[in-house]
Amino acid sequence: MNVTPVLSVEGLGVEFRTRSGIVHALENVSFAVGKSETIAIVGESGSGKSVTAYAVMGILDPAGRVTAGRAMLGDLDLLASDRGELAGVRGRKIAMIFQNPRTALNPIRPVGRQIADVLIRHAGVTHRAAPAAAVEMLREVGITDPVRRAKSYPFEMSGGMCQRVMIAIALAAKPLLLIADEPTTGLDVTTQAVIMDLIGELAAQFGMATIFITHDLALAAQRAARIVVMHAGHVVETAPTKELFANPRHPYTAELIAATPDAAISLEALASVPGSLPDLRCADLPPCRYSERCSRKTEHCAKPLPQTRAGDRHVVACWNPLPKQPIGVSSASAA
């Protein structure tokens, strides 16, 4: 794709000041998402997936600080914008769906009113028209009996319905970019399938770019066109979904795939990822934060991480990547 991306994050770095030292949460995180494209950011908990989203949205915890990088939404650098500029962007151009819909919704306001608030603030709907428009949004996200449900409070609804309300709020102003942070964690698989279909349909309908954050590799495989694998605040591999699963080049990606229950025939065949995330509070973290856990470590790994092009839109940050599977086409042509 040669079109300008909707959002392009370049060299993002974030640190947190804590009582026990500075946590280097993100370092040199780069990725881009194009119009109507769905990408997934995957990784273990603590790998910096959510922090990336929060940094882009400008809703980092006060202890967090962006130290480097740009996040370009069109011509606007979100990381350099002031609060006023961000307020005009959030909700209108970028929207976010949070992990736990029940805690993200206002518990003491009927859901219809919460949707109406967004419509009035961001979509230019008048106070008079907002309640009816909110009911219409509820209908669009597939809530049965939306007129009655608009008057319900979040606690009166099931988790799946709350998530639909969140989606209605996020999409109220028809944003360019949707960031969904683990939108279906805690939902049943059947509900998950329906919610993910709904997000996919609406994204296609509005031509929306979607960044989908998850720890579920299988879900990412099924829903995203491209996958960004993160480990300890680094992007270790980026590739089109099919290519990533057929041809994982970073050792961490391969380990993650091997640990995912779906791929295995028996429990014994499942491999765990050895070791755990490094302590990000260290001042002198190795350039490759995976090197301590890695079985393919070489003396090169002490050098700054490379961004090796491993194929069409396939980038791997590793000095000693896994060999390409024999069926592959030449990777040089893509560069």
């Binding site: 049965t144 698989v189 399938a193 720890h215 579920d216 295995a264």
Partner: protein
């Protein structure tokens, strides 16, 4: 295989819509009306058995009654009707309060969902594991310490971590504490309520393999509750599928997942995301489950969401019927049988 646990016709009702506790009862006494409080049918006449050394999976969506069933089996709550037999001992006659001090208490233990939340935050790992031993085994002093250390070692929990509090442990370590505490009193049946739901895949594998090893080592039976079907498929010999308080399908795990016979199981299996095939012709369920409050006993619970839904489903509740090694509660299960 001899049956370790036999559950027959267990019914658990909760009063619903009565306003504040006791209010409905109060009102009824004064108006002299009949005893007609609406009831939530959380577990509705469920029967099954678990063999010695068997791992049985229990799957179903949230609100289907799997947690209530599990709490009833582990005798944390009292059931409304039916019987729960462990080997030859009837467990359901004593109230949950009395059972807490019963000598059979140690024989069924439970591993809760997120050990970070189910372990007392003011107990160290040592205290958490020692608590059941103190209460049920009356162990004290050195005997207690030895036993806790043995169990911790069996669960792969380093001894030096025993003095830490739950918040100082990682997710995987907390899961190990939860397991150690449950197996400390050497139960025959271990009930696991989504033991890996809060864990990353990389840690989940280790915990699942630990559970598998412990089972072989101590000859325990497992009842494994999960909504992650890929995990259930790996770990379980047999699976029970529950929908709105009823068991709709049971059978060997591999068969049920390869050829689900009940339309609900079909939807469930189809909804599991897979790494390698992006199948798009999936079966999607529309709408929400029907209300569990006083459901019509003559309508299939799945009616309304079922893609099949015929007149027969609206007039007769399908009973569980046997197909080879499986039981299915659907009028049309024959149609879904794989052609030989």
């Amino acid at each position: 295989m001899t049956d370790l646990l036999q559950v027959s016709d267990v019914l658990k009702l909760f009063p619903a819509g009565g306003g504040p506790a006791g209010w409905a009862h109060f009102k009824r006494r004064f108006s002299g009306g009949p005893d007609s409080l609406p009831q939530v049918h959380a577990v509705d006449h469920v029967s099954f058995a678990i063999g010695k050394g068997e791992t049985v999976g229990l799957v179903g969506e949230s609100g289907c009654g799997k947690s209530t069933l599990v709490r009833a089996l582990t005798r944390l709550i009292d059931i409304s009707d039916g019987s729960i037999k462990l080997a030859d001992r009837e467990l359901s006659r004593k109230t949950a309060r009395v059972f807490a001090r019963d000598r059979d208490r140690a024989r069924i233990q439970m591993v809760f969902q997120d050990a970070g939340e189910s372990v007392n935050p003011r107990f160290t790992a040592f205290d958490a594991i020692a608590d059941p031993l103190r209460r049920l085994r009356k162990l004290r002093g050195k005997a207690l310490r030895d036993r806790v250390e043995t169990v911790a070692r069996q669960c792969g929990l380093p001894i030096e971590l025993l003095l830490r509090y739950p918040h100082q442990l990682s997710g995987g370590q907390r899961a190990r504490v939860g397991i150690a505490r449950a197996i400390a009193v050497e139960p025959e049946l271990l009930v696991l309520d989504e033991p890996t739901a809060a864990l990353d895949v990389s840690v989940q594998v280790v915990i699942l393999q630990l559970l598998q090893r412990l089972k072989h080592e101590f000859g325990m039976s497992y009842l494994f509750v999960s909504h992650d079907l890929s995990v259930v498929r790996l770990l379980c010999d047999r699976v029970l599928v529950m929908y709105l308080g009823k068991i709709v399908e049971t059978g060997p795990a591999a068969e049920v997942f390869a050829h689900p016979l009940h339309p609900y199981t079909q939807a469930l299996v189809a909804a599991v995301p897979r790494l390698h095939d992006r199948t798009d012709g999936r079966l999607l369920l529309s709408g929400e489950p029907m209300s569990p409050i006083d459901p019509d006993p003559n309508v299939c619970r799945f009616y309304g969401r079922c893609p099949r839904g015929t007149e027969a489903c609206e007039t007769a509740m399908p009973a569980l019927r046997g197909f080879d090694k499986r039981l299915v509660a659907c009028h049309f299960a024959e149609d879904y049988l794989p052609r030989a």
